[in-house]
Amino acid sequence: MCLLKTNRLAAHYNDFQALFAVDLHLDAGETVAIIGANGAGKTTLLRSLCGALANAPEQIVFDGEPVGALSAEQVVRRGIAMVPEGRKLFPSLSVEENLQIGGYAGGAGGFWNLAKLYELFPVLGERRRQPATRLSGGQQQMVAIGRALMSNPKVLLCDEISLGLAPAVIRDIYNALPGIRSQGAGVILVEQDISRALSAANRFYCIMEGRVTLSGEPENASRDAIHDAYFGVGA
């Protein structure tokens, strides 16, 4: 069942066009990876999906309804939650308060709540009274993911959740993904680390300079094809 779909999605920063006619879709319970080099437009795509950037209404369809023109605060109420690039935790809030504020948009009564998140990431339970920014990078990333889950979203958007983290920590975080997916949420993973993203995904899209240059299932895509789609043919 198609949960989220874009129709020739375009995004602009004033005169600069950052996305051109992007078509993608996400099914319930599916993980889709978005890969692409620096500045390809991955964050712009997620910001469009979560409502932080306004688009034409029909360009994004979620649960059968056009949501492209909705604001971020409306989109999260519909069930699309964002784990933003750079985590963006609230420094004045404790770990637990950061998680609680993730439920501001509603979603209480769903699978995810504080207790479930402390099961998923036990270290957060131990440090729940501390200011969120006192935690290590990996733990902060867990808070950012937990905060998004607190709204019990149907779609979870993750922007570079492995950025700047040690490999062992990245493994811990990726190990949590199946548990998240098993609750039926669709996940969109944006990564620069191609192999990490592809190994966790059912399907992928490669973006270059604002356009989808390749898409498919990781096991059916050759290294050369991905290389060309990522860097451009002949690079």
Partner: protein, 287 residues
């Protein structure tokens, strides 16, 4: 002079300044907006109390229960339709607009109520006092101080114990990320200004019952409030009380030495604190 008495009066006066300052501190803490019309809004509330009390024949303390929701609404609309439009990367527009608002309010009050000085009639309370061993303190100053403490405790509870308070702090940290949580920063800001106007009503109650007021005294109250906020450290409510007490003490001690020095001593204390602790007595860990 009686030292103990001077100190006690100074501390109690600090409660009044803390009440002037708490609303300013709240609004500044949440949206980094300096409201130059804050003092005039206190005076406006004092006139609203005056009308309500005299028309309905009520004690000003009872009238405050009617004026508070009115001021809450004024605060909401003011933020929604005026102040909210000035917020942005540039800090000049809010200063210019609230400065203009200050002048407009003063002139409107002058037009409506003339330049005569007025007072809220609190009956026997105005002169009542209690003996506390070596000193005797007025009931009104005592009530003022107690109200300041209650206001600060209530605001802190709101800030640190409620979902709304979490949303206040999150929005103050990062409004764009707060949006991703479903928070509407504009509503949060309107709520903050509206709550600040509740505090303004309480401040106006004591401003008007303790001394005479007229349409022109707003800016001086703003300065005391401002100094209290800065002495305390931006964004800390208990710091704001400490700031109010610092100015209250300096003024009373100054006045005890020479009555002409009252106002000046407060400003000198402010400058001294700025010199020694530029970020105030209780600065926030980050900004």
């Amino acid at each position: 002079m009686n030292y103990l008495d001077t100190v006690v009066q100074g501390v109690l006066l600090g409660g009044l300044y803390a009440l002037f300052a708490a609303g300013l501190s709240l609004v500044f803490g949440i949206m980094r907006l300096v409201n130059l019309a804050h003092g005039d809004l206190i005076v406006l509330a004092a006139y609203l109390l005056l009308i309500t009390a005299s028309v309905l024949g009520l004690s000003p303390f009872v009238a405050a229960a009617a004026v508070a929701p009115l001021m809450f609404g004024i605060g909401w609309l003011l933020q929604r339709h005026v102040l909210g439009r000035t917020l942005g990367a540039d800090i000049l527009p809010p200063l210019l607009v609230t400065f203009g608002l200050s002048i407009a309010l003063q002139n409107a009050l002058l037009q409506g109520f003339s330049a005569d000085s007025r007072r809220l009639n609190s009956g026997a309370l105005a002169t009542a006092s209690i003996d506390l061993g070596p000193v005797s303190v007025g009931v009104l100053p005592l009530l003022t101080f107690a109200s300041a403490i209650v206001v600060i405790i209530a605001l802190n509870q709101l800030f640190y114990r409620t979902e709304l308070g979490r949303a206040f702090r999150a929005t103050s940290d990062d409004a764009d990320t707060a949006r991703l949580m479903g928070i509407q920063p504009q509503r949060i800001f309107s709520g903050a200004t509206a709550i600040a106007m509740l505090v303004v009503t309480i401040a106006a109650l004591y401003l008007g019952t303790r001394a005479n007021f007229d349409p022109s005294i707003g800016p001086a109250r703003l300065i005391y409030a401002f100094e209290a906020v800065i002495i305390g450290g931006l964004g800390s409510l208990w710091g704001t009380l400490a700031g109010g007490i610092t100015i209250g003490l300096a003024q009373t001690i100054g006045a005890a030495i020479n009555p002409e020095w009252q106002i000046l001593s407060g400003h000198i204390a402010f400058l001294l604190v700025l010199l020694l602790k530029p970020r105030g007595l209780f600065p926030r860990a980050f900004d």
